[in-house]
């Protein structure tokens, strides 16, 4: 009996159009999350990196340009560079693998690397 009524129900639902319409996912995607962080643009990245350098003892008071080299212009040694790159990791909540971290030698390279990371925030 149960099987019979179930099959009839199924048949019926297939024949007539299902009356209850589920709102499509497209409509839901238009909701804007006000809590979401703004998209990470290169300008914002640069601003945050410059801010980071300004708060770092050894580079405080120096002019930070995108073209600045860590060792030549900012006077950091290789140990300081490791530290700065780690601070950048913490700032953007990512982990930079060793071989990539060794390649970052200027502010611009750091900006480009962060911009290429999707999960940076």
């Amino acid at each position: 009996m149960l099987r019979l009524s179930c099959s009839r129900l199924l048949k019926g639902s297939r024949a007539s159009a299902f009356p209850l319409r589920v709102p499509s996912l497209v409509a839901q995607a238009q909701w804007r999350q006000y809590s979401a962080a703004p998209a990470l643009t290169k300008d914002i990245i640069q601003e945050r990196i410059v801010e980071l350098f300004e708060s770092y003892d050894k580079t405080a008071g120096k002019e930070i340009l995108p073209s600045s080299s860590f060792t030549r212009d900012l006077g950091l040694d290789s140990l300081d560079t490791v530290e700065v790159v780690m601070e950048i990791e913490n700032e953007f909540s990512i982990i930079i693998p060793d071989h990539e971290a060794d390649e970052i030698k200027t502010v611009q390279q750091a900006i480009d690397f962060i911009a290429s990371q999707d999960d940076a925030c």
Binding site: S78, L79, M86, D102
Partner: protein, 91 residues
């Protein structure tokens, strides 16, 4: 020599990374400070034997640091008033 440099930098990175994992503020800052000071103290060493010695002892210390950092994460430590709660929500 170049091999040594990248080895030492990698060790330094691992020291800092593991030291910053400590839950407890005092331990964390102690190990960060200690790692920085030790590496900076030896940065002008040029004797190969001494460098090899330093790398060897650093490797052993790193193992201890890793283990202690893991153990520290098994316990809860209240945040101190001097700690920032969340670096992304500072005003």
């Amino acid at each position: 020599m170049a091999g040594n440099k990248s080895q030492v930098l990698s060790l330094y990175r691992q020291f800092l990374r593991n030291a910053s994992k400590f839950e407890d503020y005092n331990f964390r800052n102690y190990f960060l400070r200690k790692s920085r000071d030790e590496f900076k103290k030896h940065k002008d060493v040029s004797d190969p034997a001494e460098i090899a010695n330093f790398i060897k002892s650093a490797r052993q210390d790193l193992l201890v640091l890793k283990r202690q950092a893991e153990i520290s994460q098994m316990y809860h430590f209240d945040k101190l008033v001097v700690e920032k709660l969340d670096r992304h929500h500072r005003t």
